[in-house]
């Protein structure tokens, strides 16, 4: 394989992975923006989404991509219930520090992971779809191509779904009154209240949307990944890194952060070694904290506000 070909192939893999990471990161970022807390049960919510997709496949032979239509509403209502019955009561008590709400989400994550272990055993699961290993090759379409590149079918389909969901979310947030109210709540809670926004409802809905997004990400990940009850922690960390990298609470930042992380991990895996990908993740995390503490969002802001 010539070096350029390898590089481009790695870049493609990175972008595809980054698109999925972005979807996970956006959910956490949205919750962060409106609630001002990091949801450390985020990866576990994704695990729940993956189990939904897995059982739909196992029991009813439903394609994981179709399970999105089950997992997203299920996770949306699970998110609403968690926010309403567990997190909100803690928010109400003034003496409890915001840190305690974060710790509460850690607890929720643990409970979810252990419930999954009890009910589904700690076996590794996957959905062996028949397109799981197929790929599109550039040389099939362009015979004399100097560089042969390939696109894995499930990775590409998952990526396109992630892009579609992200665009729909953008449309919702920027064009509908409900979406604008969510952004307004994130930017200035009291001002939103004065404008007649039911900020309590927005908090609940936002947590639901964040959970729904990561549930969708679970369905997109299961055709290309495997599933076990404690997988959540890893993805919570990924979402956390993306949120920091993107700038807390910025949706565009999370998309760019997800792509940066995906590409960086893919590059580390190719050029340093498979096992080093998580190291790459933390190198970029620490680098972001040192050199760009405001995240990508601070760069965007500097450009827009001319500061």
């Amino acid at each position: 394989m010539i070096p350029l070909e390898g590089f481009l192939q790695t870049l493609i893999a990175g972008i595809l992975l980054g698109g999925l990471y972005a979807l996970i990161g956006i959910g956490m970022t949205l919750i962060m923006g409106v609630m001002k807390i990091i949801n450390l049960a985020h990866g576990e919510l994704m695990m729940v989404g993956m189990y939904i997709a897995f059982w739909m496949f196992e029991l009813f032979k439903i394609d994981p991509y179709l399970s999105i239509f089950v997992a997203v509403p299920a996770l949306f209502f699970l998110g609403i219930a968690l926010q309403k019955f567990l997190i909100n009561p803690v928010l109400k008590v003034d003496s409890i520090l915001p840190e305690n709400q974060v710790i509460l989400t850690v607890g929720i994550g643990m409970v979810l992971a252990n419930l999954a272990t009890i009910f589904f055993k700690s076996d590794y699961r996957s959905t062996p779809v028949d397109y799981g290993t197929s790929a599109w090759y550039l040389s099939d379409y362009w015979i004399d191509t100097p560089l042969d590149l390939s696109l894995s079918v499930p990775w590409t389909v998952s990526f396109l779904f992630a892009v579609f969901i992200t665009i729909s979310l953008w449309f919702f947030l920027s064009k509908t009154d409900m979406g604008k109210s969510i952004r307004a709540t994130a930017q200035d809670l009291d001002a939103a209240l004065i404008m007649g926004v039911n900020v309590k409802l927005m908090r609940v809905v936002t947590f639901g949307i964040g959970a729904g997004l990561v549930g969708a990400a679970g369905c997109l990940f299961i055709p290309i990944y495997y599933l076990y009850p404690s997988l959540g922690g890893q993805f919570t960390l990924i979402a956390f890194v993306i949120t920091i990298l993107g700038g807390l609470g910025s949706t565009i930042g999370a998309i760019i952060g997800g792509l940066i992380l995906g590409i960086f991990e893919s590059m580390t895996a190719t050029y340093i070694g498979m096992g080093w990908a998580p190291v790459g993740r933390f190198v970029i995390f620490i680098a972001a904290l040192i050199f760009l503490p405001g995240g990508v969002a601070s760069l965007l802001k500097r450009q827009r506000f001319g500061k």
């Binding site: 009154d177 952004r183 001002a191 209240l193 004065i194 506000f305 001319g306």
Partner: protein, 234 residues
């Protein structure tokens, strides 16, 4: 129209408003004036439900509103232009105006109201696609007033509309308030700019250390000896 009856308001354990009562009649411009920390903004925040009174009642058009969910007040007909503008800085002027008209009739007439506020502030029309965080201080204040008007309020409350503005812009904002009142909107205004506020207001109350110490028509207070020495520096 609006009656405040004997309210006490606290931040945690610290009480900042003591037994305050005042009223605003339909079509009036009423001012609350006083120094920093006198409790002026606290009063407005309590009316719009961000703070709750420890004691006392707030009645708007015959209905108690201090027990109503704060996000419903906008629908009832009260708009608040908060201190320091509090715009949604990462949203455009248009989006901020949308946020001002989320409910009921205001939402249906959003485009008409938008034309109306652009007539009032032609400058905002030029800037409609710009993020409000990039506007100048004066333009931001215009956007904040415009956002308040979008809900078609019957009572509009201004908190320090002249804060941080040059004298020319202050005059412009006060002229707009006069125009708004001509449209039949009742105005409650909180200000440190005592001279200009008193000449605009029908009636005014002077707040000192969380208590109302003086009240009267704007003109009466302008010539009051205490007001002259304490606030007008003459």
């Amino acid at each position: 129209m609006l009656e405040i009856k004997n309210i006490d308001v606290c931040y945690g354990d610290v009480q900042v408003v003591w037994d305050v009562s005042f009223d605003v009649k339909k079509g009036e411009v009423v001012a609350l004036v006083g120094a920093n920390g006198a409790g002026k903004s606290t009063n407005l925040k309590t009316i719009s439900g961000i703070l709750r009174p420890k004691k006392g009642h707030i009645v708007f058009e015959g209905n108690p509103i201090h027990t109503v969910e704060p996000f419903r007040l906008n629908e009832i007909g009260i708009a608040h232009v908060p201190e320091a503008r509090r715009l949604f800085v990462e949203m455009t002027v248009d989006e901020n105006l949308d946020m001002g008209s989320l409910k009921g009739a205001a939402k249906k007439e959003r485009e008409k109201s938008r034309e109306m506020v652009f007539d009032l502030f032609p400058r905002l029309k030029e800037r409609r696609k710009q993020l409000t965080g990039t506007l100048s201080g004066g333009e931001q204040q215009m956007a904040a007033v415009a956002r308040g008007l979008m809900s078609k309020p019957r009572l509009l409350m201004f908190d320090e509309p002249s804060l941080g503005l040059s004298p020319i812009l202050v005059r412009e904002i006060f002229n707009v308030i006069k125009k708004i009142r001509k449209e039949g909107v009742t105005v409650l205004i909180v200000e440190q700019n005592v001279q200009q506020t008193l000449s605009l207001a029908d009636r005014a109350y002077v707040l000192e250390n969380g208590r109302i110490t003086l009240s009267g028509t704007g003109r009466e207070l302008l010539v009051n000896d205490h007001v002259k020495t304490a606030y007008l520096g003459v």
